[in-house]
């Protein structure tokens, strides 16, 4: 317990508090709000704040427009190809948004596929990807599954009798939806929307890739990396970001706890069979939505095989050279990724299981505090954590390492472990909750001590949850960019996401970057598939608040 608290405090709480401390003190360590005053006086920052909020809202609105019809169809209708739709709907989650960003530029950018066609046919072009448009578009396509998954769960959790009762009393059709179904699914939807909002405002990779800098996350990044570690403005931005995320997360939690009230007693509600005309209509909508959301995947695959692709509809020549480059000439990106993420996943499993055990099976004082710290990373943007790490661990030799933590690749493993810890804790917690305490008690009653009970009874029963939690950590760490680009000590220590970012900086490297992107997508797909296998139908839970 004490050890756990110490670890989490050192790597989560302290760095963040340090950032906060710097933002509210002056040179002589006196408390002051002057930095925040400066922040709000600078038009640049005001605009960045406004842009962040505005684009976050837009992402939520557009995501909802994509997700809601899909969610209703998925939760309420039975039809051929439903499984395909379910799978496809989670595909956007497997492509890191900053990878998608590049692909989207090739398809929808100024000289991308679509605009070339439009120029050809109508002599117009649409600025899909210019400035904030691009950021919103890419983020929408990447994040709408969060709303989708949450809404589907909350829709299918509505007990069938609640709607049947309304019908029994004379209510049907759209009125039924408005008076009963909608209010009951709303909490889940809002939770998903808030989660999407957090993701959108914390996202650093997309705006960097699209070279749109006037948002809070890239501003913080730029202040720290270009002006330096001592620039107070960077810390202030970080604190504003954390504040926004925290408020949003707390709101989401509140709504989700409200959502629990309508949980199922009789599952499998009104699944109506879709046939004929309505089936074709549904398929049309699905095809349209999925077609759009799969654009980045298609683009990135094309790009990874393209020898030359500029100012043309499709690549003009194809090659396998990019794969040769990333797999044989500079294989360290892939190798590093596997090393870091698997280590982080293993650490997460150990930490997650220990925390879940403390929370559920002991009455130790302070365990709620532990829980709170372990959940905090959900509201700490990667940039902020990285800034905190740089501030705390830079310039002194870490015990046992012989060098500052920030000059070793270990810092990346630590960052990944901490950032993904909330997911693993949740997975372990859920798994352990399923194990009735009587199962353990009867083992102890028959003579097994605490340790043997844990090893012989508890561990086998929660192993599924542990593996799933580890897989989630693995999958999400594979494509982590925000803290990666700030913490990578040397190029040859960088993981895939860093490699993609580097390659994508130059037009000549785009092919190799895309090839790395495809590898990342494959890694994430495999991980996601395994998570589904282990978690079963409840895989969506991992992406809830």
């Amino acid at each position: 317990m004490v050890a756990l608290l110490a670890v989490l405090s050192a790597f989560i709480l302290y760095p963040v508090l340090r950032v906060l401390w710097i933002s509210v003190t002056d040179d002589q360590s006196n408390l002051t709000l002057i930095h925040f005053g400066n922040f709000f006086r600078r038009p640049l920052f005001r605009e960045a704040l406004w842009n962040t909020l505005w684009s976050g809202c837009l992402v939520v609105i557009f995501s909802a427009m994509l997700a809601l019809p899909l969610a209703y169809v998925l939760a309420r209708y039975e039809f051929r190809g439903k499984l395909l739709l379910q799978t496809a709907a989670t595909l956007p989650l497997v492509i890191p948004p900053f990878v998608g960003a590049v692909a989207m530029q090739l398809i929808l950018g100024r000289s991308g596929m679509v605009n070339l066609l439009l120029m050809d046919w109508f002599d117009i072009s649409i600025p899909f990807m210019e400035g904030l448009n691009g950021v919103v578009l890419v983020q929408t396509l990447h994040f709408f599954p969060f709303i989708l998954l949450n809404t589907v769960v909350s829709l299918s959790n509505i007990d069938a009798s609640l709607e049947e009762m309304a019908q029994n009393l004379g209510c049907h059709g759209f009125r039924l939806f408005r008076r009963v179904t909608l209010p009951l699914m709303l909490p889940g939807f809002i939770a998903g929307a808030l989660l999407t909002f957090i993701r959108a405002i914390d996202d650093l990779g997309t705006p960097l890739m699209l070279n749109y800098k006037n948002l809070l996350a890239p501003q913080a990044y730029l202040r720290i990396t270009t002006i330096g570690m001592d620039d107070v403005d960077g810390y202030v931005i970080c604190v504003v970001l954390v504040g926004l995320s925290m408020v949003t997360l707390l709101l989401a939690r509140k709504y989700l706890s409200l959502a629990e009230y309508a949980t199922v007693q009789r599952a499998a509600p009104v699944s109506r069979q879709l046939q004929g005309k309505s089936l074709s209509l549904v398929w049309l909508i699905i095809a349209a939505i999925l077609g759009i959301s799969l654009l980045p995947h298609i683009g990135i695959v094309l790009l990874s095989f393209a020898k030359v692709w500029s100012f043309s509809l499709l690549p003009s020549a194809y090659t396998l050279g990019h794969y040769e480059e990333i797999l044989f000439r500079v294989p360290h990106f892939v190798i590093n990724t596997l090393l870091y993420t698997l280590l982080a996943a293993a650490l997460d499993i150990v930490l997650g299981a220990a925390i879940a055990f403390l929370l559920l099976r002991t009455g130790l004082p302070g365990r709620n505090f532990l829980d709170a710290i372990a959940t905090m990373p959900l509201a700490i943007p990667g940039v902020v954590l990285a800034v905190g790490y740089l501030r705390v661990f830079h310039g002194w030799d870490f015990p046992g390492l012989g060098a500052p933590l920030t000059s070793s690749w270990v810092i990346l493993v630590v960052a990944y472990t901490m950032r993904r810890l909330p997911y693993t804790v949740r997975a372990c917690y859920a798994a352990l909750q399923q194990v009735h305490i009587a199962l353990e008690e009867s083992a102890q009653n028959l003579g097994a001590n605490r340790l043997r009970t844990f090893v012989k009874i508890t561990l086998p029963l929660i192993s599924g949850g542990l593996v799933a939690g580890g897989l989630i950590a693995f999958v999400t760490s594979c494509v982590e960019l925000a803290s990666t680009i700030m913490l990578v000590p040397r190029i040859e220590l960088g993981p895939i996401s860093y490699g993609i970012y580097l390659y994508m900086q130059s037009p000549l490297g785009r092919g190799a970057g895309a090839a790395l992107g495809v590898v990342a997508i494959l890694l994430v797909s495999v991980g996601t598939y395994l998570t589904h296998r282990v978690f079963g139908g409840r895989a969506g839970n991992a992406f809830r608040v």
């Binding site: 007990d159 009798s161 609640l162 049947e164 009762m165 309304a166 019908q167 029994n168 009393l169 004379g170 209510c171 049907h172 009125r175 008076r179 009963v180 209010p183 009951l184 009230y261 309508a262 007693q265 009789r266």
Partner: protein, 368 residues
Amino acid sequence: MNAAQVRLDNIGKRYGEQWVVRGVNLHIQAGDFFTFLGPSGCGKTTLLRMIAGFAIPDEGSIRLDDREISRMPPWQRDIGMVFQNYALWPHMTVFENVAFGLRERKIPRAGIQERVNQALERVDLTGHQSRRPSQLSGGQQQRVALARTLVIQPKVLLLDEPLSNLDAKLRVEMRLELLKLQRDLGLTTIYVTHDQEEALAMSTKIAVMHLGRVIQVDPPRAIYEQPIDMFVAAFVGQANVIEGRIRSRTDDALVVDIGAGNSVQLHGAGATFRTGDLVWLSLRPEAIDMAAPSSATHSNNILQGKITTAAYQGAFVEYEVAAAGRMLKARVANSKGKTLPQRGEEVTLSFAPDTIRCLARRSDAGHL
């Protein structure tokens, strides 16, 4: 009130190839308290849901008074239903829950207010209007659900195991309350339960169901005392089931061998059996009289036995007695100062010929 009658003709429902209800013919008269009784999976809830309109029969017709309704959507039927889990909407207050059906019927605001308050008063919940369902106890939730359905003055009231989520004591209280409400309103009521005690206590008529078929439709007393087959005898109340073979028959009496040299005499039902037929005998535990050895209450149907267990229940004692090569259950009423036979004692069992039912032994187990 506007009580209606319900008539089911040859109702059948299947899921895939599997028939879950088949060949059901029932006539539920205006004002009846009619119970579908059966074990889980017997099709009673499916039948109820077809009457409410949540399932459409694959064959047969459902008529409400003289109107065919089997394909009418649920919201047009005016048949009130109370769900097993109450189905109170968590996002609405008690008042809003009860007012829901009235609002759907476009009743003016003032009328809604008045009728909701009346309905809540009738179920003793005045003053709880602005609570949320989650703030109510199980019994209170149950009464809100009832008020919500009654307030629309349905033609028929459907109750799907409404008492099963309450604890034992509350269940008995609610049973009486429900019964009183139904009799006061004169409302045609269809009640689904697997609890035979509940069914016997409340119903004017019971339909016992098994494997999708209705086995017997009768008033409670006839169901208990004259079960038409072994399933009904064993499901409703307790019964000693004894295998036997007809030794001889006269016009109004049968003699049945029950093995180990014992035989039993009984009245009635003689016409349908022939000498040598294999039969089941059903004997209620309370029909058995217990006396000291070699003194018997009845002149025939006497068995010697030994008590193997005695379970004191307060108002009565339940015994298991080894007699005629089998275990028989007997129930002896308790009263003040009465000497109760103990475990291990030798006793004489006897019973009147008209308390025993003789039923054909079927070779097939199922009914579908």
